[in-house]
């Protein structure tokens, strides 16, 4: 069963405006790899070359923060990709 990924506003240009998409994967890394296959470029916006979550991004699985990409994801979970916003 897929999880639901909720896409932060600045990343929706990659998902053709969709605010949430279904994705497969047993870890955050796998979920992001699945997204990258369909929405090229989205992973690099969140993850640096050393596979670390970028410092203006927070990833939550339901209400639990994912400190690393190894964080487990189960079917039916909600994965939240939260980006710093700058507008005022």
């Amino acid at each position: 069963m897929d999880c639901t990924v909720r896409i932060g506003s600045p990343l929706r240009s990659y998902t053709h405006g969709a605010s949430s998409v279904a994705a497969a994967g047993a870890t955050v890394a796998e979920v992001l790899a699945d997204l990258e296959g369909r929405f090229p470029g989205i992973r690099f916006r969140m993850i640096d070359e050393q596979d670390r979550i970028r410092r203006h991004i927070r990833v939550f699985v339901n209400d639990r923060e994912a400190a690393t990409l190894a964080e487990p994801v189960a079917g039916g979970d909600q994965v939240h990709l939260i980006c710093a916003l700058s507008g005022g």
Partner: protein, 380 residues
């Protein structure tokens, strides 16, 4: 600070709330709140704080009222067009509530002045649209021990959090660092006019709660709001032991302007072009000087794949090699995803001999939108 008969009438609905009552209203009257940015967020927060009877209200803004502001900045009307925002806002707030004091700070916050401005207030509401200012204000509040209610908006999404000294994480604990290159502004992305109305009202609510000492502030919780789906969510986050400003061994112990702050003003006027726009410009060379294409990635990345005709000037060599570009020419700076090229444009603007353009989204965007055959090497 006792209330006058007129104030008892004006604030009757507050006085009817046991959670506020006369004691809370007197605290509001004695409170000093600074609103940074008289824009989309600052408009509703300042209006509600003035109406609520916050005794001293400061407003920081150095801009003038523009017609495109009126879609969301409800402090202003047509008659205020072209007037300094801080001054026009002060008049509006005093006409709403003549019993308070409103201070207009018509300036840009910088390391050199932020301490002096903030020190005269108890609580700071950050509604700036400049990222470097967000970090400067956060750091100043941590170092000076001031409560900070911060909010930010983008298109249909808003975020808010509250920092209370000694009680929880600061904004840097939430997002340790970021860059204008990766976080788009509202001017580029657009914003639903009523969105900052919701988020600014939340900021005012937080300030009032902190002043009267009631309720549970948004400490250690990031509140997000999606207007399209009408969904509020909150995410708990903790103080980082390694936070650069509020952590165990802080590296920020005095206020400094980030290199980006120094560049921000110049970059406001920078033209950023989409890959499709560059494609059109490259095809249409008739009657104009050719565009210089300057790729600022490392030689190894450049060798793996680059645009035809591009020259390679790695960031480390850029300052001394800018002179190689013909004076008066237009140069499109590009990198992998847009971070380095933005800094390169800042250097070119300071150099002043060429007109820089930035390829937005970098060569990754070019590959995604124009030419999938372009090989874009990993950075580094």
């Amino acid at each position: 600070m006792a209330l006058s008969a007129e104030e008892r009438t004006r604030y009757a609905r507050h006085l009817a709330l046991p959670e506020i009552a006369a004691a809370g209203q007197e605290r509001l009257k004695a409170a000093r709140v600074l609103v940074i940015g008289a824009g989309g967020l600052g408009s509703p927060s300042a209006l509600y704080l003035a109406a609520a009877g916050v005794g001293t209200l400061g407003l920081v803004d150095c801009d003038r009222v523009d017609l495109s502001n009126l879609q969301r900045q409800v402090l202003f009307d047509n008659a205020a067009l072209q007037r300094p925002k801080a001054v026009a806002a002060r008049e509006r707030l005093l006409s709403l509530n003549p019993g308070i004091r409103v201070v207009a700070h018509e300036l840009t916050l910088r390391a050199a002045n932020v301490r002096e401005v903030i020190d005269a207030y108890d609580i700071v509401l950050d509604g700036t649209d400049r990222l470097p200012t967000r970090y400067l204000v956060n750091d100043a509040c941590v170092l000076l021990g001031k409560a900070l209610v911060t909010a930010a908006i983008h298109r249909f999404e808003g975020q808010a959090m509250t920092y209370v000294p000694g009680r929880g994480p600061c904004y840097r604990c939430l997002f340790p660092e970021t860059s204008a290159a990766v976080v788009p502004s509202c001017a580029e992305a657009g914003v639903l006019g009523v969105l900052p109305g919701v988020m600014g009202a939340i900021q005012a609510t937080e300030a009032i709660k902190l002043i009267v000492g009631r309720g549970e502030p948004l400490v250690g919780r990031l509140l997000t709001y999606d207007a399209l789906e009408l969904r509020f969510q909150e995410f708990r986050f903790a103080r980082r032991a390694d936070c650069a400003v509020c952590g165990e061994r802080p590296t920020i112990t005095e206020l400094r302007d980030s290199p980006e702050t120094c560049m921000t003003d110049a970059l406001q006027s920078l033209r950023r072009i989409a890959p499709s726009e560059l494609q059109v410009m490259l095809a249409d060379t008739e009657g104009r000087d050719p565009l210089m294409l300057v790729d600022v990635r490392e030689p190894r990345e450049f060798a793996a794949g680059h645009l035809p005709g591009a020259i390679n000037m790695p960031m480390s060599e850029l300052d001394r090699r800018l002179a190689e570009l013909p004076a008066g020419s237009t140069a499109v700076f590009m990198c992998r995803s847009g971070g380095r090229s933005l800094r390169a444009c800042g250097q070119a603007l300071r150099g002043g001999t060429v007109t820089p353009l930035q390829l937005e989204g970098g060569l990754l965007a070019w590959a995604a939108e124009v030419d999938p055959a372009l090989i874009v090497a990993p950075a580094g």
